[in-house]
């Protein structure tokens, strides 16, 4: 089989199999939609709220991306600080781990009270807070584990720390960075939706999910989940494409 066809057809087939399994599960058990909606219930839900899905999906998407961008910038800077300075690493790690261990669902009401009514800001903030951790950790580990010889080949020629960072440390860290970014993408979605679902008068797919819940429109809730999964997959593969461009060298030729 052609390699490109295979790369597309295999995951597609897996999705179809999964949907069939889901449909069968609901059908065999005779579950009503309030217990679990079947895939065949979803097209109707999508059709009914077509324009809502578009506008709310867009709201969720841009907030997630913005939060993720902030997480990349902040996480990279924090990772650099911890990667280059032993003292800063010792100082910041426990704080960072502690911060990450706090379930972000508990942060939602605090943030919502802190910045009342700033719904866009709050949502971006939560997406950011939940997703910068893996980026900071991966960058700091990438930089602090750089073998001294890599530094020495440039340092022995009189290169500055900045030159060593741009020419060696940064590109060498890229594979770890993209690995973390893939995790961060899905985390950022969780952050966005936590805020959208929990805070009153929310916007985005999370709010649409919540309105499905209050109206007992169960197929709508499941449709939102599918829409979220779809957006997650799209963003994930955008990251994969970026990884191919900037860190494609790290991928060994098969065989």
């Amino acid at each position: 089989m052609n390699k490109h066809v295979q790369a597309f057809a295999v995951p597609m087939a897996a999705i179809v199999v999964f949907l069939l399994f889901w449909e069968a599960l609901v059908w065999v058990n005779g579950w009503p939609t309030y217990k679990m909606a079947a895939p065949s219930d979803l097209p109707a839900a999508f059709e009914r709220h077509w324009s809502l899905f578009l506008t709310m999906g867009w709201q969720t998407l841009w907030r997630t991306i913005l939060g993720l961008l902030l997480a990349v910038i902040f996480g990279t800077i924090l990772g650099m600080i911890m990667g280059f300075s032993r003292i800063m690493r010792d100082a910041l790690y426990p704080l960072l781990v502690g911060f990450n261990a706090i379930p972000k669902a508990t942060v939602v009401p605090i943030v919502a009270l802190m910045f009342v009514g700033q719904h866009d800001f709050n949502t971006v903030l939560l997406a950011f807070m939940i997703s910068f951790f893996p980026i900071a950790v991966s960058v700091s580990i990438g930089l602090s584990t750089l073998e001294p010889e890599y530094r020495d080949i440039l340092r022995s020629l009189g290169a500055s720390q900045a030159t060593i960072f741009w020419k060696i440390a940064l590109p060498k860290t890229l594979p770890e960075f993209f690995g973390a970014l893939k995790v961060a993408v899905t985390l950022a979605f969780i952050g966005t939706n936590l805020m959208e679902i929990v805070s009153p008068h929310g916007r985005g797919l999370g709010a649409l999910f919540d309105s499905g819940r209050t109206n007992s429109d169960f197929p709508l809730m499941f449709a939102v989940l599918i829409a979220l999964a779809f957006l997650g997959i799209v963003l994930y593969y955008i990251v994969v494409a970026l990884e191919k461009i900037f860190a494609g060298w790290a991928e060994r030729a098969p065989g």
């Binding site: 073998e147 080949i153 022995s156 030159t163 790290a250």
Partner: protein, 263 residues
């Protein structure tokens, strides 16, 4: 003849949690221009510290390191380095890896001339046709050859080799020894070679310095008289056997000292 490298009375200690750990104590090495010194000694005796001192990557507590009549105070672009780990950058082609030092060191060469020089060096070490390959596509010996080209691209006065062939198999190593002689004929340099391999030291160097166990001082210097580049057969003459015997004996003395010091 003026000495290009001079190490005079160098003493150095690393600061550790359990107090200072002296690694060098009374090191004396002098290498004339165009000379090639091999430094051998028990492991952990401070040989790598020595390379970092010559490269200007660190300063000794006491004593002086001189390069070409100037005291070494920091890194200088007239030095080329190669390590046991070839440390090639995986995101660059072999050619771009070789060109790396010229991005740091000011050079009179145009881009075209620099590339031609890199290609010349690569073909000199037998890597013609591999210029556009990635490092991971090359074998260990080939990577080490590329690393050697990178160390030479900016025409350094001093080439520092820190166990460059240590991780290679015996046949590849012997191949590279011969390559080294070929390179030195074409691209003259003054060399410092750190090695564990006594045969390597007498094959490549014209002066072998034996260091004592830690803290290291110059224990013995053996001159290897040389008229032309040797062949591998020259390693199996009675003369070579005598040289190896002397060195082995000196190493044993050096190791004896470390155990005495430890008890």
């Amino acid at each position: 003849m003026e000495n290009l490298i001079e190490i005079k009375g160098v003493r150095h200690a690393y600061r550790t949690d359990s107090g200072p750990l002296p690694v060098l104590d009374g090191l004396e090495i002098a290498v004339p221009e165009g000379g090639f010194v091999a430094v051998v000694g028990p492991s952990g005796c401070g040989k790598s510290t020595l390379t970092r001192l010559v490269a200007g990557l660190m300063k000794p507590d006491h004593g002086e390191v001189w390069l070409h009549g100037e005291r070494v105070k920091g890194p200088r672009s007239t030095v080329g380095m190669a390590f046991q780990n070839p440390v090639l950058l995986e995101w660059r082609s072999i050619l771009k890896n070789v060109l790396l030092p010229l991005e740091i060191v000011p050079s009179k060469l145009s881009k075209k001339e620099a590339e031609d020089r890199a290609r010349m060096l690569l073909s000199l070490v037998g890597l013609e046709g591999f210029e556009d390959k990635r490092p991971s596509e090359l074998s260990g010996g080939m990577r080490q050859r590329a690393s050697l080209c990178r160390a030479l691209i900016h025409q350094p006065e001093v080439l520092i080799l820190d166990e460059p062939f240590g991780a290679l198999d015996a046949f590849t190593r012997e191949d590279l020894w011969q390559t080294m002689h070929k390179v030195k004929e074409r691209e003259p340099f003054t060399g410092v070679l750190i090695t564990h391999d006594l045969r390597e030291s007498i094959f490549l160097a014209d002066q072998v310095v034996v260091l004592s166990g830690r803290p290291a001082k110059t224990q013995y210097v053996l001159d290897i008289p040389r008229n032309a580049a040797p062949t591998l057969d020259d390693l199996y003459t009675t003369e070579a056997a005598e040289q190896l015997n002397i060195l082995r004996h000196q190493i044993q003395v050096a190791q004896g000292r470390t155990t005495e010091g430890a008890t």
